[in-house]
Amino acid sequence: MNLAVRDIRHSIGRFALTTIGVGMLLMVVMGMGGIYRGLVDDALVVTRGVGADLWVVQRDTRGPFAEVSRLPRSVVDRVAAVPGVMDACEFVFHTIQREHGGRPLRMGVLGLGWPIDKGQGLPLIAGRPLAQNHYEMIADESLGLTLGERIRLGKDTYTVVGITRWLVSSGGDGIACFTSRDAQSIQFDEPGESVRLERRARRNRADQVDFGRTQPSVLERASGLSGNIAALPGPAISAVIARLSPGADAKEVQAIIGAWGDVTTYTKDQQEQLLLKGSVDRARRQILLFRVLLTIISAVIMALIIYTLTLDKLHPIALLKLIGAPNRTIVGLILQQSLIMGALAFGVGHLIGLKLFPMFPRRVLVTNDDLLRVAGIVLVISVFASLLGIWKAMRVAPNEAIG
């Protein structure tokens, strides 16, 4: 006869309520761990999404995420020419906030290195990668866009051809992927009026120098496209991402590019470290500390609950001693009950979490490792708390059952 189960069955209502309570506590612990993992993981989604082996940024900056980095577009071709580099393209990423369908639409705009990168590597849950080099986009489901939906950004209209899951920026905004040309035209979109004013200003400036006055064609040019004016640089890019040929040594390539005076390079790991140590560092440590605190407090509460459960049984335990039950029986009763409660509470917490966490605005990433860790903690607490109870139970004299 299993005494632990009999006792639970006898006070099933109370046991169930207590277990659900402890379970919800564990759910919060798991959730906090999940929020932490989600934050760390989200921070790395973009770097992982573009699949770069090497990041080339403006000299002495920690760009492009931790701070601003500006490079001339020509660096793309210089990097592509380095032995060991398979391909290179510009990295375009910026956040925009527009209106769509009457509600604010905040998204990260990520440029893909068309034609090599069409988004095949993205976590697509519906639709397809990009198929043409303009006017298509892959949107994250958190943006609330549907396949085939058309959305106007700048002067062009883009069609959603693919949906990703959990492709978000380190701020938690959903990311939409475009070809890098499209991404840039969204970034540098200027209203017609401001283009017109800028051309007028240029013409006025040219008018005031003798070169402009003697060369009418210069005035002509000044009123035209900026790209046709040799003296004006093209729009700067923030970074160049390079993929290495199979077998190429990242250190070697890094050494070659590092010798150039105008750029700094980071490997994928270095870039991830910059992100974690930089932009999300404080948020990450804040949540980590809170998580540790929460775990400790839950442990204490759970231990107290289990211990109290044993205290309530001291009279029956004295009785068991009176009729000659060996310590093994008494230890078994307390230990099994606390393990049963721990296991059930863990299950309850996990189940509630499964239902609840997807409703959170940001990702709650409960990994199996973290689940195992929580399970381990629950096991340790259950055993520890029952040891306290057992210690108490061992001190009960059998004659306390009489009277």
């Binding site: 006869m1 006792d7 006898h10 029956p316 009785l319 009729i323 000659g324 060996p326 310590n327 004659n399």
Partner: protein, 244 residues
């Protein structure tokens, strides 16, 4: 001595507390109980009857004196000569004034558990429990929890539990206090039958003088001293003060 005694208590003395709060609850109590013998223990409240039972029941060892059960020395003063708890579950049965059933087990389980504690298979312990409950007239209440039973029913379940392992010694402290005199007498007679049939030694603390004819011997305690009862002693202890 042809046959080992069910119980042999020699010079038991129990002192509670120390200094000026010291109470001598029992002094130099000796008793020899044969197998199959049913003894009544009379005495006013505070005389030390419960103290005596707890000592020979190996629950609360004496300050001085020796206890042997079934011919086996088990206590030498406060020192245990055997594993007391193991000895208790195998050889001693208890019935107390207040029912002492385990609250989270039903009537049958309360009896069955003591069988399982001495290593009987569950089915066998169960069969024995049901048989005893039937014999005590509470077979129909086997599945009821203790709180669902009346005081008398609880007491009979407790008696069944004490009998379950066929111990060599049964100690009952005012077992019939919660029963009417008819039921009380039935329990006493049951004790006698068990004792005579299985050779169990039984000591019953009681105030019910109408049932004294059931017992083989009658002892009396007063101020911690134990001796065979005299007629005058029996008369004295039947006074209204004896309610403990």
């Amino acid at each position: 001595m042809s046959e080992a005694l069910a119980l042999e208590a020699n010079g038991l003395t129990k002192v509670y507390g120390t200094g000026h709060t010291q109470v001598v609850a029992m002094r130099d109590a000796s008793l020899r109980l044969h197998r199959g013998e049913v003894a009544a223990l009379l005495g006013p409240s505070g005389a030390g009857k419960s103290t005596f039972l707890l000592c020979v029941g190996l629950i609360n060892p004496p300050t001085r004196g020796r206890v042997a059960i079934g011919g086996r020395p088990v206590l030498d003063g406060p020192r245990a000569l055997v594993d007391l708890r193991r000895f208790r579950r195998e050889s001693v049965g208890f019935v107390f004034q207040k029912s002492n059933l385990i609250p989270f087990l039903n009537a049958a389980d309360n009896v069955q558990i003591v069988g399982e504690l001495v290593g009987r298979p569950a089915s066998q312990a169960r069969a024995r429990a049901m048989e005893l409950l039937e014999a005590l007239g509470v077979g129909a209440r086997a599945r009821n929890m203790p709180t669902q039973l009346s005081g008398g029913e609880q007491q009979r379940v407790t008696v069944a539990r004490a009998l379950a392992n066929q111990p060599s010694l049964i100690l009952a402290d005012e077992p019939t206090a919660a029963l009417d005199s008819k039921r009380g007498r039935q329990v006493m007679e049951l004790f006698r039958d068990v004792a005579h049939k299985h050779g169990t030694g039984i000591i019953v603390v009681t105030h019910d003088h109408r049932a004294l004819d059931v017992f083989d011997t009658v002892y009396q305690m007063e101020d911690g001293s134990l001796r065979p009862a005299t007629h005058a002693g029996i008369e004295a202890s039947s006074g209204p003060a004896s309610t403990s």
